[in-house]
């Protein structure tokens, strides 16, 4: 691993094979960090950093995750267009189609599960060819 320090920011340039654990996963370049300047000795620097990270509060990891997502979303180019399509699509599906054209047939007609069960049972027992009486009964439910 190479570690550099510039402009008051802790920079992790790359993590080679042999990951040092979950604490490193969301470390990225130019990510503001409260760590002191790393030790000049690259061998001891790793050890010190690990112990510092292990004592970090949970919030810091969450913030790093948040920063990772926020920064990723901010840097999107094509992704912006795709997100717009997804949002428009979801709006049409849930705001228009589901709301106005696809009510739940049973939910919208009956108040209880027992009523729904009775209706469906009436439908299927009345669905025998030639048995139109039963069907008329169920349709009046």
């Amino acid at each position: 691993m190479r570690i550099t320090w510039s402009n008051g920011l802790y920079n992790e340039i790359s993590l080679e094979s042999g990951s040092l654990g979950i604490y490193h996963l969301f470390q990225r370049r130019s990510f503001p960090c409260r760590f002191p300047k790393p030790h000049h000795n690259p061998i001891t620097a790793n050890t010190e950093r690990l112990s510092m990270e292990q004592s970090m509060p949970q919030k810091s990891l969450l913030l790093r995750v948040y920063g990772f997502y926020a920064d990723g979303l901010r840097r999107m180019t094509l992704g912006r267009t795709l997100w717009k399509i997804i949002l428009v699509k979801l709006l049409i599906m849930f705001g228009v189609l589901k709301l106005f054209f696809f009510p739940d047939f049973l939910q919208s007609r009956f108040a209880t599960d027992q009523q729904r069960a009775d209706y469906v049972l009436g439908q299927i027992t009345g669905a025998v060819p030639g048995n139109s009486t039963a069907m008329e009964e169920t349709d009046h439910d």
């Binding site: 920064d71 267009t81 669905a127």
Partner: protein, 511 residues
């Protein structure tokens, strides 16, 4: 009821569902397959550290992202349709489908959503190892989320691990493991995912062929082709193997579907497989017309594939409709009698419960239990109604198999010239190669038609026909939403194709 049913309703509901499912099925198999190939590209990059492989990985990742974004949530519409157009069915299977679909939602959310972002945003921001791990997790998550919907679909073909509760009018799950690991579910999942890998490999080959023909991004295209060809070749073998397993399960659990996809009207011992043929679409079971204008048969093969034994009898449509006592096959007419007893017992049970007559309720329930495995046949008007559309099933099956047999040869040719060199000059290969993705998509759609048309008239095999599964709506209502979907899907498809074409034109990012 069937006499009074709006005749167009069931067909419009079917058409709407088919439209939605086939549209959804443009995106899903590509997502399932391409995530694995991207994971391989990414692994090669991590292993070699070559920036060429990184560019290549990022490029295919971008196209995958477009496909994913346009395809995401298209499946939700099918759930809307269940509640509105297929309310009886939806009510009856709610207990069975609840668990698998909930698991799908959780897995899709946690695996795909979590690692998806790391896969796209993680370049130079997370460790190479974790980034690669995320790419593999996206592939695994996508495919795992497909497990559960296919488990649900397989249950409709082979309804195991359930019991019908006449008090709630629902099929209730008795054994989750039976449902999740039913042989039909296993073969369905493995065949779907392996054929999706073939489709994804063809996607890469088609676009890379285009680049080679245009003389652009040659190095990236060749590398993409070599990996995709190896992957596609292996996936083709897996697809053939799992397809054979799927056909074997069809023979065991849906013999009418097998007879329909083979155009086998009269059952045969040492039955041959129709390798190719022109089926007579006007032929009806029981009439004197010839089923084929011409056909090329491979002797014994159907018996072997269907039963793992060349000498066994494979029932034809006629045997299954009218029965064949010699081979101990009951006809649909006999099953209809049993089914009608089940339905009558169910109606009597309902009346007895309403009247508070527990003794009568217990007696009618016992009659129902005795006949319940034929429940669905009680709703058929005549034995011939048990036959699916034979010509469509036969043609779809043979299109799928013929295309599936061509694909390994295409992969071999690409692999050979990709390794030996000179692929850029093989216009005879590259030109048809640009169309291979569409052929693979056609094969996928044909497979869907085989599975869904071939199982008609059943929504749930032998237990519930689609005519009873539907809601009491007017066909004009369903017709309206059908055209709305058609318009919406067309717009979305245009959006996808134009964004995809634009990105293909741009190509991978500059060095």
């Amino acid at each position: 009821m069937i006499e009074n049913l709006d005749p167009g309703l069931v067909n419009w509901s079917r058409a709407q569902f088919a439209l939605t499912a086939l549209y959804h099925w443009i995106f899903v198999p590509l997502t399932l397959g391409i995530t694995w190939i991207i994971a391989f590209y990414h692994s090669i990059y991590v292993r070699t550290g070559s920036m060429e492989w990184k560019r290549l990985t990022k490029f295919w990742m971008k196209l995958f992202g477009i496909n994913f974004a346009i395809g995401v949530a298209t499946g939700i519409i099918m759930e809307f349709e269940f509640g509105t157009n297929w309310s009886n069915y939806s009510w009856m299977v709610g207990d069975i489908f609840g668990a698998p679909l909930a698991i799908e939602g959780i897995i899709a959310f946690f695996l795909e959503a979590t690692f998806f972002a790391v896969m796209f945003f993680g370049w130079n921001r997370v460790s190479k190892g974790f980034h690669l791990f995320s790419t593999w997790m996206v592939a695994l998550g996508s495919n795992m989320s497909a497990v559960w919907i296919l488990v649900a679909n397989a249950w409709m073909m082979h309804p195991v691990g359930q019991e019908f509760n006449p008090d709630t009018a629902r099929f209730e799950m008795r054994n989750f493991l039976d449902v999740a690991f039913s042989p039909v579910a296993v073969s369905k999942f493995t065949h779907t995912t392996s054929s999706s890998m073939v489709l994804a490999a063809m996607f890469i080959i088609s676009i890379s062929s285009y680049y080679l023909l245009k003389g652009r991004h040659g190095k990236m295209a060749r590398r993409s082709i070599v990996v995709a060809s190896v992957f596609g070749l292996l996936a083709s073998g897996l697809s053939a193997f799992t397809g054979d397993e799927a056909a074997f399960e069809v023979a065991r659990n849906q013999p009418m579907k097998l007879a329909a996809i083979e155009g086998l009207y009269e059952g045969e011992t040492n039955a041959g497989l129709v390798a190719m043929g022109l089926i007579n679409p006007k032929k009806k079971v029981g009439d004197e017309q010839q089923p084929f204008s011409f056909e090329i048969r491979i002797p014994y093969l159907l018996s072997l594939l269907a039963t793992r034994n060349v000498g066994t009898f494979v029932p034809g449509i006629k045997d299954l409709v009218y029965g064949n006592p010699e081979h101990g096959i009951p006809g649909a007419a006999w099953k209809m009698e049993r089914g009608k007893e089940a339905v009558a017992a169910l109606a009597a049970y309902k009346q007895a419960k309403k009247a508070g007559n527990e003794e009568e309720a217990a007696r009618t329930r016992a009659t129902f239990e005795k006949n319940r495995e034929y429940l669905g046949y009680g709703f058929l008007a005549q034995p011939e109604d048990a036959v699916p559309p034979v010509a469509i099933s036969f043609n779809a099956f043979h299109v799928m198999v013929i295309l599936g047999s061509i694909f390994p040869l295409v992969f071999l040719a690409y692999l050979f010239f990709g390794i030996r060199g000179g692929l850029e000059q093989k216009t005879w290969l590259l030109l048809p190669g640009t169309t291979m993705f569409f052929l693979a998509l056609a094969a996928h759609w044909a497979g869907w038609i085989v599975a869904e048309v071939g199982r008609q008239p059943w929504a749930i095999q032998d237990l519930l026909p689609v005519t009873v599964a539907r809601s009491n709506l007017t066909s004009s209502t369903v017709q309206t939403t059908f055209y709305m979907f058609l318009a919406l899907f067309t717009i979305l498809l245009i959006a996808e194709v134009s964004i995809m074409l634009k990105q293909i034109k741009i190509g991978p990012e500059e060095k």
